[in-house]
C-alpha cells in the first residue's frame, strides 16, 4: 500500500481522485437512500482517510456540497460540515490501522452518535429540552445507523481496501 501523505495540498491528479471519492460517497448514499440510515459513506470516508490522509476532507466537502443539491439546504446540511469531518479526523489519525473490527467500531460509534451531534445546534435554538427531544426522537434511527455502519464496514473494509490499494497503484504511482 502507498502510505498516505501528510501534506494537505493535493496535486491535480489527486484532486480528481478525491473529487471522485466524494462523488462516489454521494452516489452510493443516494442509491441506498431507500434503506434508512444504511449507507457506505462512513466506510468510504475511512478508506479515503487511509489512502489520502488529511486530503480526505476535500472528498468530504464534495460529498456534503452534492448532498445539498439533492436533499436541499437545511439545518442538517450545516451539521454535515462538522459531522462528517468528525469521522474523517479520527480516521486520519488511526489510518495505519488495518483491523476491520476497529474500523467497524469507529463507524458504528459515529453512526450511534450522529443524532446527538446533529442536535447540538438545537441547544442554541431551543435549549437543552429541544436538543434532547430532537436526539431522542431520532435515536432508533441512530441504532440502525450504528448497526448498518458496523456490519457494512466489518464485511466490506478488507475487500474494498484491497481494491483501492490496487487502483491507487494504477492511478497514483509514486
Amino acid at each position: 500500500m502507498r502510505p498516505s501523505s501528510t501534506s494537505t495540498k493535493p496535486e491535480l491528479r489527486q484532486l480528481a481522485l478525491l473529487s471522485l471519492m466524494g462523488a462516489l460517497m454521494f452516489a452510493l448514499q443516494v442509491a441506498m437512500a431507500s434503506l434508512p440510515n444504511i449507507h457506505l459513506t462512513a466506510l468510504l470516508i475511512i478508506l479515503t482517510a487511509i489512502f489520502f490522509g488529511w486530503k480526505c476532507l476535500f472528498s468530504v466537502a464534495v460529498f456534503v456540497i452534492l448532498e445539498a443539491f439533492v436533499w436541499g439546504f437545511g439545518l442538517w446540511w450545516l451539521c454535515y460540515w462538522y459531522l462528517w469531518p468528525l469521522l474523517a479526523i479520527p480516521a486520519v489519525l488511526l489510518r495505519k490501522n488495518r483491523s476491520a473490527f476497529l474500523w467497524a467500531v469507529l463507524a458504528a460509534v459515529h453512526g450511534l452518535t450522529f443524532g446527538a451531534l446533529c442536535s447540538i445546534p438545537y441547544l442554541f435554538i431551543g435549549g437543552w429540552e429541544l436538543a434532547l427531544s430532537t436526539w431522542v426522537s431520532g435515536l432508533s434511527f441512530d441504532l440502525v445507523h450504528c448497526a448498518g455502519n458496523f456490519t457494512l464496514t466489518l464485511v466490506l473494509f478488507k475487500p474494498l481496501y484491497r481494491v483501492m490499494d490496487k487502483l491507487m497503484g494504477m492511478y497514483n504511482p509514486r
Partner: protein, 130 residues
Amino acid sequence: MASKKTKIISGVILALLVVAAVLALIFLRPDANPGSKAIVFQVTHSDGNVVDFDIHTDSENLRGALEQENLIAGDESAYGLFVTEIDGEAADDAQRQWWCFTKDGEMLNTGVDDTMIADREHYEAFIDVY
C-alpha cells in the same frame, strides 16, 4: 495491526454506548399520543360494584371509545351496535335486563354509534330491567 486488548476495549465501549442508547430510547421516549379526548365511563355492575374507566381517545363516537378499551360487546342492528355486554357482564334478556347508558345522569337518546363524544364528558352505564 490492533492488539487483541484494543479490540476488546473498543468492542466493550461500543457495547456500552449501544446499551446506553437503548436505555435512553426506552426511558426518555415520550408515550404515543394517548388521544385528544378524555372521558370517564362509569359502569355499575348488577352486584353494585362501580368501576370508573378513564378513556383517552380520538374516536368521534362513544362506540369507538368503548371498543378501543374492549369494554363492550353486542349485536349489530339497523341503529348501530345494541350493547349486551359491558366490562365482562352480559345483560340477561331472560330476566328482561338491558344496559342503560346515561350522560351526567341523563338517559341517552342515541345508541353508542350515534353518541358523539367530547373532551371531559362523563358517561355511565348500569343494568336496568324493562
